[in-house]
Amino acid sequence: MRKQHAVSAAAGVAVSLLAGLAILAIQGYPVWQSYAALFSYSLFSQFALVSTLNKASTLVLTGASAAVGFGSNCVNLGQPGQFLLGAMAATALGIFLDLPSWAMLPTVIVAAAVAGAVWSGLAAFMRLRWKMNEFITTLMLNFVADGVTLWLISGPMLDRKAYSPMTAMTNPGAWLGMWNGLSGAVAVAAAALAAVWVIWNRSKFGYECRVMGHNPGFAAAGGCGVARNFTWAMLLSGAIAGLAGGLMVTGGMQHRFVKGIGANYAWDGVMIAIVAGNSMSGTALYALFFAALQTGAMGMELETAVPSEFALVLQAIVVLFVVASRESTRLILAGLAAKLKARRAARMLEAPGEGGGRHGSGD
């Protein structure tokens, strides 16, 4: 089953890369040169690899956030808002808090996760208490988070010296270190992913969540505390997205909340979870792949003038083709299995001799 998964994923990725080639060729770009730049600028130098890993540290978290949500049958599409609130919490504490250095960073990072969890928890509350579908409420809450943070950075928290909406810089005590360009956020994200992997794959809570994701009716009948698990899954999902936002501030280059800080990270994460089928290891792999595409696209723009937004197009194509090929391989295999079974049944009916099948068709 897992092998089948890998084969269809590889086929899907290959087909989408080919589709990308076709798009570039139609528009008259130098195709091979562009693709060569795409990969050399994302993988084949120390700087390229470091940039890819830094980007992947964000994507792996937004991806894990979506995977925890979707995998437990909670349609949390609130990652954009949870990410922004996490970033805002990290910024606000980073500016206004002055703790000894050993306490500063952990406080700021935990606060970011808590802020994300509060925002997703609000949607969970609306769902359980008021029966409001979390799919719509999380989407609407994104716009609220967007408005509130935008107001904060262009009004109360605006850095007067800046030309566009942004806050002042946080205290250096709230900065993660850098090693040869590699952000400390990579280490924190890796640790967080490992923790989520253990929760998801090795704990009773994670098991119950996965059962809820596969078959909610069975989960309820089997005695999982569905409402309780739903709440915790939403909180965990929001906390991871908030953490991603917080790391953007503590581990990035700017160390402040600038307008548009969320970019498309949250939605990229949603796509990563979908294409990884909500598995944590798959999320890590596709986060690296998407990060490589996005970093490489910058280099591609430099070399052959293809707009770097091409990466976004390619990502969506990858999602469509990988998921479609996964589903259609399953359908084709199921069809083959049914055909084989039918043939075997037909042979059994023929075996007892002429006419035997006609009367003995009780089963």
């Binding site: 719509i136 796509m271 979908i274 469509l320 479609a324 589903e327």
Partner: protein, 290 residues
């Protein structure tokens, strides 16, 4: 005198803001009754807004722009049909991917075709004509798509509830196997509903970029497709109910703009329609319990 002027201005703004939500949601009513989980409206609208600007710019004609907008919505819908209906990919997955493809694709094409980031505007883009209908100060003098949206809403109400097509559409949603057994392909009905939704989202997109402005900006649809989805869920797909919901949404959108004039920061007033949608969902959930 000033107060009535203000009220008229507010109501005019509401009608303008309600129209794209109404157009998309009426299209979404078709997919709602065919039981298709259509979250791609946001993306189809965005693609429509972009292709409408492309058409209007290159042909220097609003009619070509409008047709291009519909064509853009239809192409996105065809993609949805290909993956979700023909290849049986999950509808949520397909819709999300199409939304992302729309966001990335329009941003990419904006730079590739016009060499700009953020927004593209030009005097060469032709806007939709305004109709000076004698409907009074609130309803008169809007882009003609506003009136077309009203007519289409009434048509859809009749089409879904009273015609053979509408009956088959609802059967495809409620009991696809029985419909198949009766000799009508439920997949074909689903495909039709998605295409209708795509065309109407294309119209909504064209209205956004050619209606009261003449420009395309990144992520121009800005959640209107999702508000349409909320309106559909709240009214269980009844086009006339959708009309009321869209007008309510438009009113909050317009109120946001008025409050901005009263000195409340724009970033906060822009949240109003989304908060109002949350409130509406809460009220709906109250009614459900009874």
């Amino acid at each position: 005198m000033a107060a009535t002027d203000l009220a008229i201005e507010l109501l005019r703004a509401s009608v303008l803001a309600a129209t794209p939500v109404l157009l998309a949601a009426v299209g979404g009513a078709y997919t709602y009754f065919a039981n298709v989980f259509n979250i791609a409206m946001e993306g189809m609208m965005l693609i429509g807004a972009f292709t409408a600007v492309v058409g209007s710019y290159f042909a220097r004609s609003w009619a070509v722009g409008l047709a291009a907008g519909v064509a853009g919505g239809l192409v996105a819908a065809a993609l949805f049909v290909l993956f979700a209906v023909a290849l049986r990919t999950d509808e949520f997955v397909t819709g999300t991917a199409i939304n992302m493809l729309a966001l990335g694709g329009t941003t990419y094409a904006l730079r590739q075709m016009f060499g700009v980031r953020g927004a593209f505007m030009s005097s060469q883009i032709r806007a939709l004509p305004r109709w000076d209908l004698p409907f009074g100060p609130v309803l008169g003098g809007h882009p003609f798509l506003v009136y077309m949206a009203l007519v289409l809403t009434l048509l859809a109400e009749w089409h879904i509830r009273r015609t053979r097509f509408g009956m088959r559409l609802r059967a495809a949603g409620e009991d696809p196997k029985t419909l198949d057994a009766a000799g009508v392909s439920s997949s074909a009905m689903k495909a039709w509903s998605i295409m209708i939704s795509g065309a109407l989202c294309g119209l909504a997109g064209a209205y956004l970029s050619l209606g009261y402005v003449r420009l395309f900006s990144e992520n121009m649809s800005n959640g209107r497709g999702w508000i349409s989805l909320a309106a559909i869920i709240l009214t269980r797909g009844r086009p006339l109910g959708i009309l009321v919901m869209s007008l309510a949404f438009g009113l909050f959108d317009g109120m946001g703009m008025s409050l901005q004039g009263a000195g409340i920061p724009a970033q906060l007033t822009q949240m109003l329609p989304y908060v109002a949608t949350l409130a509406a969902l809460r009220i709906y959930s109250l009614r459900q319990k009874l």
